[in-house]
Amino acid sequence: MLAYVVRRLLLMIPTLLGITLLVFMLLALAPGGIGAGLTASSGQVDGSKLALQQAYLEDRYGLKDPVLVQYGRWLARIAPIKFGTPDQITLAGEHKSKPRAIDAPPLPEWFPLSDAAIAARDAATLKRGVVAAINETEREDAQRAYRRLETDYVSSRAAYRALTKKLGDELIEYAIAQQISGVRTSHGDCRFDVIATTPAKRDASNWAAIEALATQIDAAYIRALKSYQLIDVAFAAKPFREAGVAIVPGVISIGSPDLGVAFSKGRPSSVLIASALPVTILLNVIAFPIIYLIAVPSGVLAAARRGKWFDILSGGLFVALWSIPVVWSGVLAVGYLASNQYVGAFPVAGLHDSLADSWTFLPSFRDDGAFERGYLLDLFWHICLPVACLVYTGFAILAKQTRAAMLDNYSADYVRTARAKGVDRGTVAVHHVFRNSLLPVITVFVTVFPATLAGSIVIERIFSVPGMGSLLLEAITNRDRELVLANTFMVACVNLLALLLADILYAAADPRVSYE
């Protein structure tokens, strides 16, 4: 059995790979590609700042690379086995990876590096001073120092990139004027290598601008290079805790997946998911026992009284319930039961009252005799309507499957044998028929669980419950790629684990299934 579980867990990996690849490709299909959301969420109005922001994002996420390369990079971050220098984790849970080197300025054939730049590139003396300085300070100061250096690094790198992009735009115009073809890529970037093969025409209209930009680039390169060297040393001094456990130090390590930073919220995705996932799981974990406790007995009863009024009534009721879309029941529940216009007996939104944190856990009476709900009861009161809207869909599938399985098994040969042995009707129903009917009932879990999980998206939106569903909706609206991917990944994990659980339960229930 253990071997089976391990095998299934290993088989989950290609499935997870597949689903994340699928979602990644979908996001890449979006008009504007993966970068569209990033620029949209920056919210900057100023043109030059927008260019800066765009350059930073493109650079950081490698948005100009082919889609598969980007996917590979994301995968490398997610994978628990990491190669190369391990990341470091800040207290807030954000991953900091080794700073990337600065690329040399483009078009060295036309604009060779200045001497200062060459000197900066080869400077080694700088490093020693920085190391000494950093080793002397306390750890917290080291973190603050790192952050300062990081800001400097990021901004200088972004500026350098922005200037490079501007140069690219100018060169594209130059190419159009000079009728050099094949310079412009589909993204609108400039292919410097194509330009490099042509001779420089100094009499072009924008040549002055090009030259000015080249000089600025050189200066920016030097600045960026210097800040890179500083931060590189600072990183190597390990101001933060190292992520994961090193197997071969500096080469292979095992660590937790880095789910990235949700740039629409500016916080690490793992933190957001860590607060949203328990909510969704709570909703579903409460919903499932209720579904089973109501649906299975009614299925059994309907099978025992086939054709009688209970069977027909419950069958019709469940089909009707199944047909009520969750969007409608949620809206009706909020509108009629929760809002103050009508009944107003339930809370409208959220999982907790705004004062809930100050309450005790269990219900109690305050000093002046007034009843205080307490944290637990408040939670249940808030969760009532969302769970009610979540469970009724599952009734129909489960009850119908139970009934069908029971009816199937009632006419089985071994039931005839049992009756011939002298087993009474009740024991036959429970001990023989129901026990065999458990098998399809467990199998149906595989259908009901994803359906309930999906239903909780809508419920979370309608009732403003901060779970994985509403997180996903926000991420989609903001085109937040990292968050969408992280969210999908976690939901897929949860779903697959639940299905695995169902399979294990089935194996325990059916001795015919062999797992050797």
């Binding site: 089985a412 040969d413 071994y414 005839r416 044998t417 049992a418 009756r419 011939a420 042995k421 002298g422 087993v423 009474d424 009707r425 023989h432 026990r435 065999n436 098998l439 229930a509 059916d510 001795p511 015919r512």
Partner: protein, 368 residues
């Protein structure tokens, strides 16, 4: 009540009629059994022979009230076990009969065992229902039962699941389960039809052995005349819910009286005669001369057959059913059309205390 167990029939079926709702045509009912008389004595094997649909399984299942009502209905008749009418018992009282006084084994050993419980559990379930023993003692009894039916390594295999057994072994498990409480009567509904021929022989021999050691009566339902010839003491041939012939096995095979029985026997290919065509049952029963061969034909003793043309039938007796099982010779009954002659000469119900081993004939050597 009998004084000695051997002096009265174990089971007597008197005039049993069972009908079903017809799902294909709700305006009609299917009369599966239309007036059946038979009896089984202790240590006797009664073979009930007939084609599909003749009512043999329904008769057997009726003895234990195993048919679901509705759609089944017991129209009339009695089933006497040791003199008591089983059809009058309530469901709760029947629980004490099933498995302990009468046991039944079925045709499909593959599906007749519950797949999710071990065979030990299933045999012990039967034991604990009818015997006041502790669980450990029940295990002992189960192991003994498994040994009795020839299942090797019973102590290990008692924890095995049905799907881990072969077909023949599963049938042995069924027999062990059925006999764990030492029933007096065993109903075997085509127990070997789904098995290989070699396994068939083993199972039947097992049944004969168990019958000998336990003084059990067996009602063996089959459509295989070879099985009948080897294993039966008394034969009851059924057609369309009625008994057409009832006799001991040697008499039946020697000199069948009813045209249908003759047709069945003639249609078996013989190693001795070289024929171009096999005789079909249809040929025999459509030939009016066959019906005339019965002794007493001129007096109005006409073998009953549903497709007999109206002019060939004797004049019936108003107020009486059209069919009667009549004792033509001592120990031989034939189903006949009711006529005034039969009305005037009532005969007793089929009751044949005959066992082939009593004659000293070793079973297996066909004296046919």
């Amino acid at each position: 009540m009998s004084t000695s167990p051997d002096s009265a029939p174990l089971l007597e079926v008197r005039n049993l009629a069972v009908s079903f709702e017809n799902s294909a045509d709700p305006s009609s009912r299917v009369q599966a059994v239309a007036g059946v008389d038979l009896s089984v004595w202790p240590r006797q094997t009664l073979a009930v022979v007939g084609e599909s649909g003749c009512g043999k399984s329904v008769t057997a299942m009726s003895t234990m009230q195993l048919l679901p009502r509705p759609p089944a209905r017991y129209d009339c008749g009695e089933i006497l076990l040791d003199g008591e009418d089983l059809l009058k018992r309530s469901e709760r009282d029947m629980l004490a009969v099933r498995g302990s006084k009468i046991a039944m084994i079925f045709q499909e050993p593959m599906t007749s065992l519950n797949p999710v419980y071990t065979i030990g559990d299933q045999i012990i379930e039967a034991i604990l229902l009818h015997q006041h023993v502790s669980h450990r003692q029940a295990v002992e009894i189960a192991i003994q039962a498994m040994n009795d039916v020839g299942i090797p390594k019973a102590e290990e295999r008692i924890r095995a699941y049905p799907h881990q057994f072969s077909g023949g072994m599963r049938q042995r498990v069924m027999i062990a389960m059925a006999l764990a409480c030492r029933p007096r009567l065993l109903l075997a509904d085509e127990p070997t039809t789904a098995l290989d021929v070699t396994i068939q022989a083993q199972i039947l021999e097992l049944l004969r052995e168990l019958q000998r050691t336990r003084q059990m009566g067996i009602m063996l339902i089959t459509h295989n005349l070879g099985v009948v010839a080897e294993n039966a003491d008394v034969v009851c041939v059924m057609y369309a819910g009625r008994v057409v012939e009832y006799a001991n096995v040697f008499d039946l095979f020697d000199r069948p009286l009813h045209p249908y029985t003759r047709g069945l026997l003639k249609s078996i290919p013989s190693l001795h005669d070289a024929k171009h065509r096999l005789t079909t049952v249809d040929e025999v029963v459509r030939d009016p001369n066959e019906f005339r061969k019965l002794a007493g034909f001129e007096k109005g003793v006409v073998p009953w057959w549903p497709e007999t043309p109206a002019e060939a039938r004797p004049l019936g007796v108003p107020g009486q059913p059209a069919y009667r099982l009549h004792e033509i010779e001592p120990g031989r009954w034939v189903g006949c059309w009711m006529s005034e002659h039969l009305e005037a000469h009532p005969s007793r119900k089929p009751n044949l205390e005959f066992r082939r081993n009593d004659l000293g004939v070793v079973s297996g050597a066909a004296a046919i």
